[in-house]
Amino acid sequence: MEVDDTPDMLDISVPRYLPMSQETLKTFSAMVSAREDNLGRIDSILRSIKQDIDKYVEFIIGENMFENIGYTRDFMIVNLQSLERILISKYELENWKAIAFEIRNNLNQQIPEDPATLSNLQQYHDANDETLNEFIRRRVDEMKNSPEKDKNIREYVNKNDLYQLLKNMAFVIEKPTDPLPEEQDDDDVAMAGGVISLKDPMSLHTFKEPVKSKKCDHVFEKSVIEEYLRNEIKTCPVAGCEGRLAKFDLRSDDLMLLRVKVFEAKQQADDFEIETI
């Protein structure tokens, strides 16, 4: 006797795709948090590097420690290299965190899903959904193999303030009156004959306590510009600049101070050389 409607043999093997159990989700979340702690640790390392550098710069500027400019440059370069490595790890961790966030969001949207039972097992066999592992692997691979990866990392490192400052300082130690590479086409930088002016544009004296306007990037001697502005908002003293400035737009400009100190030290060294010839 033939029975036409005999169901196929039930496939009770574990399907490729299964809904996540609450347990797995919890483990996953814990893992993400642990990675996030690493990010926090990186940030605190970055803060302490910044403090070290600030202290060092304060020291070399305050004590006029420029007999050995080569040492100062090496200090900057070594720090620059470790900073770069740390920033790359931070970049990768942040990317990982973004992926984890995406995954958690995806999972949250899927829940609740019916747990797999014998009666709905076939449904899971038929489903062609991406498993969590596959999803993570795909996103991580995408990140690692992205043709933009190197460019993105460079951009990420370059836009870090501390990295910028350190890079600029290393540059200024070599060439105290040269414009920074990114400033070379900038009309707002006070230059004459391709050289950065180390003088306050109002008193024409060499900077002692330079401050930079965050409105227009022009640099002034603190006491002179403060006397000029008093408690008013005034137009920037530089000819042709329409920036409107008040005292609170001024920030101390350590890079300019470093330029002045290095320039003076190099001049002294040159004078000494001339005298000994």
Binding site: K199, M202, L204, V224, E227, C236, P237, A239, G240
Partner: protein, 159 residues
């Protein structure tokens, strides 16, 4: 020392170190023989290939106490022939006007170069005297003749 004074000392140092070709500028002497940094005398050469080229034109530059917050006053001799110079000799130039384009970072070098440019390139929108202004606007031939005559008078002006 006041900002005006220290700034003017630096201006003098800078000028002595380097200044545009054909120009001169220096502080006047006071009665007691010391330098009066607030009053300068300068010579502006007319630009080459213009009707002004033969002369070196004298100006005085007077710096107020609150220089460089306030601009200096620049004067040619009385009745100087130029559309933007008042009969008193005062120069009408936007970079010398506090309400217009004066900025404390403008140096003596910028000023004398600005005045030189004004000589051969008058501003038709700010008349300061009748004769030169009228001639410049309506009778270029007369204007040219008058300017050249004046250039001859200032041919040998120097420090």
């Amino acid at each position: 020392m006041s900002l005006a004074k220290t700034r003017l000392q630096e201006e003098r140092k800078l000028w002595r170190k380097d200044h545009p070709f054909g120009f001169f500028a220096k502080p006047e002497k006071s009665a007691d023989g010391s330098l009066d940094l607030t009053n300068w005398r300068a010579g502006i050469p007319g630009r080459k290939d213009t009707i002004w080229e033969e002369g070196i034109y004298p100006i005085t530059i007077n710096f107020p106490n609150d220089y460089p917050s306030k601009p200096p006053k620049v004067k040619f001799p009385e009745n100087f022939y130029h559309p933007n110079v008042y009969p008193s000799g005062t120069v009408c130039l936007s970079i010398l006007n506090e309400e217009q384009d004066w900025r404390p970072a403008i140096t003596i070098k910028d000023i004398v170069l600005g005045v030189q440019e004004l000589l051969s390139d008058p501003n038709p929108d700010s008349p300061a005297q009748e004769p030169a202004w009228k001639a410049f606007a309506k009778d270029k031939e007369l204007y040219t003749r008058k300017v050249k005559e004046q250039a001859k008078r200032y041919q040998n002006y120097n420090a």
